[in-house]
């Protein structure tokens, strides 16, 4: 019985050294050397292309908040990233997310990534979805499924081409860019499925809005 403690302790120590630290340090070394952009979070000038942002409170002079950009999917905080309660910095919230409004103090929310976890027959989900549909209708958008449902991570960085096309009337009105030009912009920013067959066609909202900003 007691004679088993020595190998148990030695084995636990070896495991901790090898599989805890040598593994992770060697992995980090290789990752930083070969894929340093990805390993550090795919961060570009305006944020990580892998982490969704709250676009619904973007200031658009003369137009409702968030109407001059393409918006991402809603999330659980807020009520939503497509935020009916304007001025409340909800939305995609990795650890802390802040939104600044001209002339006001930035509003910050603490949190971590989260899904709503609402069941398919939840009254709360029903009410939330109704609020989102009203939000989109007020902006002349006939919403697709993705635009009224929240993601699993809480900061889905992507939308589908159909979602972006649904937002065209709103963006076109607020930016004055013709629907045809927006349509070709969307086509240009659409990523095909991985290897041609894995997953859905998608658009990275940050990249789409960067391209949109160049167009204006």
């Amino acid at each position: 019985m007691l004679s088993n403690f020595r190998p148990a302790i030695v084995m636990a120590a070896i495991a901790m050294a090898f599989f805890g630290f040598v593994y992770a340090f060697a992995g980090t070394g290789v990752a930083q050397l070969v894929f340093s952009h990805q390993a550090n979070g795919s961060i570009t000038a305006n944020g990580s292309t892998l982490i969704g942002q709250n676009w619904s409170d973007t200031v658009c002079p003369g137009h409702p908040l968030g109407s001059c950009v393409f918006q991402g999917r809603p999330d659980d905080l807020g009520p939503y990233a497509a935020n009916p309660k304007q001025g409340v910095a909800g939305g995609d919230n990795p650890l802390i997310a802040c939104q600044s409004f001209p002339g006001k103090k930035p509003v910050c929310t603490n949190g971590e990534s989260a899904a709503t976890n609402l069941g398919p027959r939840s009254k709360v989900l029903l009410e939330n979805t109704r609020a989102l549909i009203r939000y989109w209708h007020a902006r002349g958008v006939n919403p697709t499924t993705d635009l009224v449902t929240t993601s699993g991570s809480g900061y889905d960085p992507d939308i589908t081409p159909a979602d972006a096309i649904a937002e065209i009337p709103m963006v076109s009105k607020a930016t004055g860019i013709s629907p045809a030009r927006l349509r070709s912009l969307i086509a240009k920013e659409t990523h095909g499925p991985e290897l041609g067959f894995l997953g859905s066609r998608y658009i990275d909202v940050l990249q789409l809005n960067e391209a949109l900003a160049k167009l204006r």
């Binding site: 894929f35 609402l118 027959r121 697709t144 290897l195």
Partner: protein
């Protein structure tokens, strides 16, 4: 079409893996692989053992239990004092005693139930030095326990079943480490984060947003998380987060990794007992169950979400997208969910809580069958072998002969041990679910109302009892009641099965082989597949059907009702 090719490529990749990884693992455990001999020898010296030093099943079990105890103590200690340890850029404090215990048990038992949000609770030191370590060790322990049972069939009149320390070392270094490391590189290449630097702060001039983003050594943990059917991710939202599972390709890779060892072990079994056909028979039984739940799951998730439809978006061509990520889509997410719940992995690339009623049914059902299709690393093989032994017994009763499996007589002792192993899980799961719904502390857990709230409680105990670790995430599990009850559930679900399995391995190894005769009941044909599947469905299905009908089934039938 995309989904067809996803399935087709997975099938081909897994078929090749089954053949080659399966025979490689058999070679490892037969001691025919030596390329790391220079590393093995000093390790055995430090452990005070050697491959020639074989153990009886009792000594093997004692070594396994003491090692598990030491591992649990170490994990608990690290979580309790993480505030004073290095590699903690976010300065996170100590984890509470109940949560540390629950988490320690959870990672020890290959469950990876997480009652905490990783990025706001665990320091890098804890993630690497405590949790990732167990993600290597716990699947290895599961595999070596299965190997003992396999040796029970392959050895004749033998008093020993192998050496725990040697088997464990070989499994870790020859099997898990190389595959995990290569997979880790792919994860990072696709966009998974792997850094020791702390959080990143960004500012977007286009929308005035600043974000503080959690980072860490995520990518390589992700690799072993899937390969070892662990499931516990670095971040709270697990494989749904782009930093853990950045693309549809890593989603495919995750599914491949978590299925590879459990499926391949049936080949290893066949190879070691000298009849690949017997391994293939078990594989087919696994595939029948897996395929059934996959069909239900993908079909259900391709249907509209009822609440979203009732609110006004009736046309949902992309299926139920509540809680799902755009880059994966509905069917691949359902495939991931079914694979993850039927392998005791429990990783999640979506919110399982928001699956349609029958989608949730598919996830729960796969676990209720006892995690045999294909089940966890090692635990899947040994649990289906228990089912096979019971099937042989029932078959033997029907034709009135003493049952045999692979030439070993299955007698009263073996049946008792197999029965014990098969019943441990349903007994603890149903008892704890019953307690939870009848006391206030238990009923305070669920987020959703109505039958879905009950499903959340049931799911929690089914998941932990089967060492799966996935959750209907709405439940508030970080309470004293759920932490302690869950830990008991996980310990019984793990060791309540594993100890009878080791005893069974010992009992069978001691027996001699009876030559097969004309009247021998065949255990390598389609009929036996049917018998094994039948036993699994009766044991899992009938035990849990009443509970299941109060949850997902009622929910599915409540047309037009919202809770």
């Amino acid at each position: 079409m995309g989904f067809f090719w996803t399935i087709a490529t997975l099938f081909v990749a897994l078929a090749i893996t089954w053949r080659y990884l399966g025979s490689y693992m058999a070679a490892v455990f037969d001691g025919r692989v030596h390329f790391l001999g220079w590393l093995e020898r000093p390790l055995y010296r430090a452990l005070g053992t050697s491959p020639e030093h074989e153990q009886t099943w009792k000594r093997y079990a004692v070594s396994l239990i003491i090692f598990s105890g030491v591992s649990l103590g170490l994990t608990y200690l690290i979580l309790r004092i993480q505030g004073s340890l290095p590699l903690n850029p976010q300065h996170l404090g100590a984890v509470s005693p109940a949560l540390s215990f629950n988490t320690g048990v959870s990672f020890l038992t290959n469950t990876n139930w997480q009652a905490y949000g990783g990025e706001t609770t665990m320091s890098y030191f804890s993630q690497m030095g405590a949790l990732t370590v167990q993600q290597f060790v716990s699947p290895a322990v599961g595999i070596v326990a299965a190997v003992v049972l396999v040796r029970g069939f392959s050895r004749r009149s033998s008093s020993t079943v192998g050496n725990f320390w040697v088997d464990l070392t070989r499994c870790l270094f020859y099997i898990l480490l190389p595959i995990a490391f290569i997979a880790g590189i792919i994860f990072v290449g696709q966009g998974a984060v792997e850094t020791l630097a702390g959080t990143a702060t960004i500012h977007d001039v286009l929308n005035g947003v600043s974000q503080t983003i959690a980072r860490g050594p995520i990518g390589f943990m992700e690799a072993i998380k899937q390969l070892g059917t662990n499931g516990g991710g670095f971040l709270d939202q697990n494989s749904a987060t782009p930093f853990e599972n950045p693309t549809a390709l890593t989603n495919w890779l995750s599914i491949y990794l978590l299925l590879s060892i459990p499926f391949s072990l049936t080949y290893t079994f066949g190879k070691m007992v000298g009849s690949i056909r017997h391994g293939a028979t078990l594989l087919v039984a696994m595939l029948v169950i897996f395929g059934s739940f996959l069909t239900i799951g993908t079909y259900a998730e391709h249907q509209p979400n009822p609440a979203v439809a009732a609110a006004g978006v009736v046309h949902q061509p992309t299926g139920n997208m509540e809680g799902k990520e755009v880059r994966f889509g509905d069917t691949s997410t359902a495939l991931f969910g079914v694979a993850s719940t039927q392998t005791s992995t429990g990783s999640a690339d979506a919110s399982y809580d928001s699956f349609n009623p029958m989608g949730g049914f598919a996830l729960l059902g796969g676990m209720m069958m006892g995690e045999v299709s294909p089940g966890g690393t090692g635990s899947g093989l040994y649990t289906i072998l228990l089912m096979a032994i019971i099937a042989v017994f029932i078959g033997g009763l029907m034709i009135g002969r003493t049952p045999e499996y692979l030439g070993k007589r299955i007698q009263a002792k073996e049946i008792k041990l197999a029965g014990l192993g098969v019943l441990a899980m349903p007994m603890i799961v149903l008892t704890l679910t019953g307690i939870a719904v009848s006391i206030h502390a238990g009923r305070a857990g669920p987020l959703n109302a109505g039958p879905h709230g009950f499903s959340e409680i049931l799911y929690a105990f089914v998941s932990q009892g089967n060492n799966n670790g996935s959750a209907f995430g709405g439940i508030s599990a970080n309470t004293a009641f759920y932490n302690i009850a869950g830990a008991i559930d996980m310990l019984v679900g793990r060791f309540g099965v594993m100890i009878p399995v080791l005893a069974l391995g010992g009992a069978l190894a001691a027996k001699n082989v009876v030559p097969a005769g004309l009247g021998t009941f065949r255990t390598d044909n389609t009929m036996f597949v049917g018998l094994v599947v039948g036993v699994i469905v009766i044991v899992g299905g009938l035990t849990f059907f009443p509970a299941m009908s109060l949850g997902p089934i009622v929910e599915q039938l409540s047309h037009g009702k919202f809770f």
